[in-house]
């Protein structure tokens, strides 16, 4: 067998995704911080028994080491960690299934490109921006809770999401928002008697 042929059979090194490296580095930093803080809580108590800092140190150290090993694997490993195991078969089927789901998602993305809208009526741009826009909306709503109360703040957030982010017809959106608020009020306040925060306004 010529060297070229042999080289073809050797899997190439992994090319790690930036998100993988960043995410794992964040985990390593958390592990390190937990370990350092754990030493401050005291590893042992009297008679050398396990103290409040023992588990944070051990777990934090483990997270740190495992994250560093994972970063090394991301850059150096030539094969996955499952070759030759039953999990390889699982991984292959998982990949095929993900491809199948992705295939249909891509198909809908393609149709979105041609028609401008996907089957949920959103453009691709909307889909990508929406999660952050929605998080921000609900974050603002939670900040408003001490003023307007929980139900009003969240209802406003739902209305904003429907009308502004999803660009739905305003009166349908208003009806849905009112319906949702009425449902939540009935279940949690009237049936379960849970005192939801009413804020400074003190309405509902």
């Amino acid at each position: 067998m010529s060297p070229e042929v042999i080289e073809e059979t050797i899997p190439p090194r992994n090319r790690p995704e930036l998100s993988d490296v960043i995410g794992t580095t964040v985990l390593a930093i958390i592990g390190l911080a937990a370990m350092v803080a754990g030493f401050g809580y005291g590893m042992t108590v009297e008679n050398g028994q396990v103290g409040p800092g023992f588990l944070p140190v051990v777990t934090g150290g483990f997270v740190l080491l495992a994250s560093l090993a994972e970063i090394a694997r991301l850059f150096l490993a030539r094969t996955g960690t499952t070759d030759g195991r039953i999990m390889r078969t699982v991984g292959n089927i998982e990949a095929t299934a993900a491809e199948s789901v992705g295939l249909h998602a891509n198909a809908s993305e393609e149709s979105a490109e041609t028609s401008g809208l996907d089957t949920f009526g959103r453009t691709e741009k909307q889909r990508n921006r929406a999660p952050f826009h929605i998080f921000l909306t609900f974050g603002v709503a939670l900040a408003l809770v001490p003023v307007t109360g929980l139900i009003i703040a969240l209802s406003l957030a739902v209305l904003y999401v429907l009308v502004v982010i999803e660009k739905r017809i305003w009166w349908v959106s208003a009806l849905i928002t009112l319906g949702a608020a009425a449902f939540v009020y009935t279940v949690f306040v009237l049936v379960l008697s849970i005192p939801l925060p009413t804020g400074i306004l003190g309405l509902i």
Partner: protein, 502 residues
């Protein structure tokens, strides 16, 4: 055993419990249908709604949501190739292909029949095994309990899929989050950063609502969707050939699903992939798999339901959740003042056996609902998602508040949602994180007790036969895949060097 079953039957057939069982499986089916809303999300969102119920009624309803959503998520996998739950991902292979070939109704019917078959067989296994395991576990001391938890964590490593290190790191990260607050058995506040709200720890149900409801729903927004394939009532008739081919596949799926489901941390998703893998090896029609074969629907679907039932064995008998959803259910037990584990069987027999017997009625209701009505449920898929998700977020946040009666919980859900979104988007697994989170307090409790028993030495774990065997098994389960991976990599690198040299 018969006495226990009769007691359970008496509890399960009370009109109130039957009604809420029906409501649970119905809601579960609808929730499972909706893309991005799986069984974990459904149980987490609706847990606060059950607070006003008797514990047994609440748990019957929540369990109904669990297995109801397994049926529902199959419908969306088959009709729109968008799984409602990760355990139905594999159904998109043959289920959707059957639907495209005009056999959508048959695929739905095979899925419902296989689910029911697996549910009943695995329920018999669950009833037969849970009691004896709980009785055996009554003899366990802290060392044995600690060893079992370590073995549970090690199982996560063994079944972490492509990325073992990431799985175990996420489990350890979950453990770290569980340590926030005053340590049990100590007076030291850990990782509270001076916040009074963090003194009593972070409510893990709130974190789960954030990760599974908020995070998953928002992740779903980035995906488009397929127009549902229509399935008429007439299409639900399964041909003799399809039925004959499905039965052996469903039997294999049931056996495998049950075996995998019993292991803490393995879960139904893994069971479905393994079952499909087995079909690819042993089925007479393996060449047709992936092209719309009934075996590709029956086997994973049976494995899914069998694993879901089996995951109740470690949850109820040992207090160790077998999956993400049973972890939330474990939270429900704790909220109702119950501690799952060996003592539960002797202290609350009517609750435990009532819950187990209710599975039978729940699955019967599901079969009755799904066989004729699957096309009706499928209409829910036509509701535009943008109208649904804001309501899910609204309900999730109010539900989380109801759990803790505390505005701080809202922020926990919010930030956990952000975390869950990034975890999902960048493929950091949530299940090990959640299991670490749930098992953390128990792990520390038994660790402290074991250390006290051994007067500071944890080697006491190797001095008693059961704990020694379990600990060694945990070490092997955790170490073997990692060491084997390193050796394989070294071999490949050496091969590469030889190739370059020559």
């Amino acid at each position: 055993m018969i006495d226990n079953l009769l007691l359970g039957f008496e509890t399960a057939v009370s009109p109130e419990n039957l009604l809420w069982c029906f409501v649970g499986v119905l809601l579960g089916t609808v929730i499972g249908l909706l893309p991005g809303l799986g069984s974990t999300t459904g149980v987490a969102i609706l847990l606060p709604v059950t607070l006003a119920f008797e514990p047994v009624t609440a748990l019957i309803m929540l369990a109904g949501i669990y297995y109801g959503s397994q049926y529902g998520s199959s419908i969306s996998s088959i009709l729109i190739s968008t799984p409602g739950d990760s355990s139905s991902v594999v159904l998109t292979l043959d289920g959707y292909q059957m639907a495209r070939k005009g056999r959508a109704g048959a695929a739905l019917a095979i899925s419902a029949l296989a689910s029911f078959f697996a549910a009943i067989i695995s329920l018999i296994g669950l009833i037969a095994l849970a009691g004896p395991i709980a009785r055996f576990a009554l003899n366990f001391g802290p060392a044995e309990n600690l060893a079992i938890i370590l073995l549970g964590m090690a199982t996560i490593v063994s079944f972490a899929g492509e990325n073992i290190l990431r799985g175990i790191t996420m489990a350890a990260a979950g453990l770290l989050v569980s340590m926030v607050g005053v340590a049990s058995g100590f007076s030291t506040a850990r990782f509270t950063f001076g916040s009074v709200n963090l003194l009593s720890g972070i409510d893990f149900v709130a974190i789960m609502i954030g990760i599974f409801a908020v995070g998953e729903v928002l992740h779903q927004i980035r995906r488009g969707g397929e127009k549902p394939i229509r399935a008429g009532f007439k299409d639900l008739i399964v041909t003799k050939e399809e039925l004959a081919r499905s039965l052996p596949a469903a039997s294999r799926g049931t056996g495998l699903g049950f075996a995998v489901g019993v292991l803490p941390g393995a879960g139904a998703t893994l069971a479905t992939f393994l079952a499909y893998g087995v079909e690819k090896q042993v089925s007479k029609y393996r060449k047709l798999l992936g092209k719309g074969a009934p075996e590709g629907v029956a086997s994973p679907e049976a494995a899914n339901n069998a694993a879901a039932n089996a995951s109740f064995i470690p949850t109820l008998a040992l207090g160790i959740p077998g999956s993400g959803t049973t972890a939330v259910l474990l939270g429900a037990f704790i909220i109702f003042g119950l501690q799952p584990g060996p003592l539960l069987f002797s202290q609350e027999p009517d609750l435990v056996w009532g819950l187990l017997v209710s599975f039978f009625f729940g699955n019967l209701i599901l079969l009755a609902l799904n066989l004729p009505l699957a096309p009706v449920f499928a209409q829910i898929l036509r509701i535009p998602y943008p109208y649904l998700y804001p309501i899910v977020l609204f309900t999730s946040l109010v539900g989380a508040f109801a759990l803790g009666n505390n505005s701080f919980t809202l922020w926990v859900v919010f930030f956990s949602g952000l975390l869950g979104y990034f975890m999902k988007r960048f493929d950091f697994p949530a299940a090990p994180f959640v299991l670490g989170l749930v098992l953390g307090p128990l792990l520390e409790k038994y660790l402290v007790q074991t250390s006290a028993l051994g007067e500071g030495s944890l080697l006491i774990m190797f001095q008693q036969p059961i704990s020694a065997v379990l600990t060694v098994a945990a070490i092997i389960a955790m170490g073997y895949p990692l060491v084997a991976a390193v050796i394989r990599n070294l071999k490949v690198r050496r091969q590469g060097k030889v190739a370059v040299d020559s």
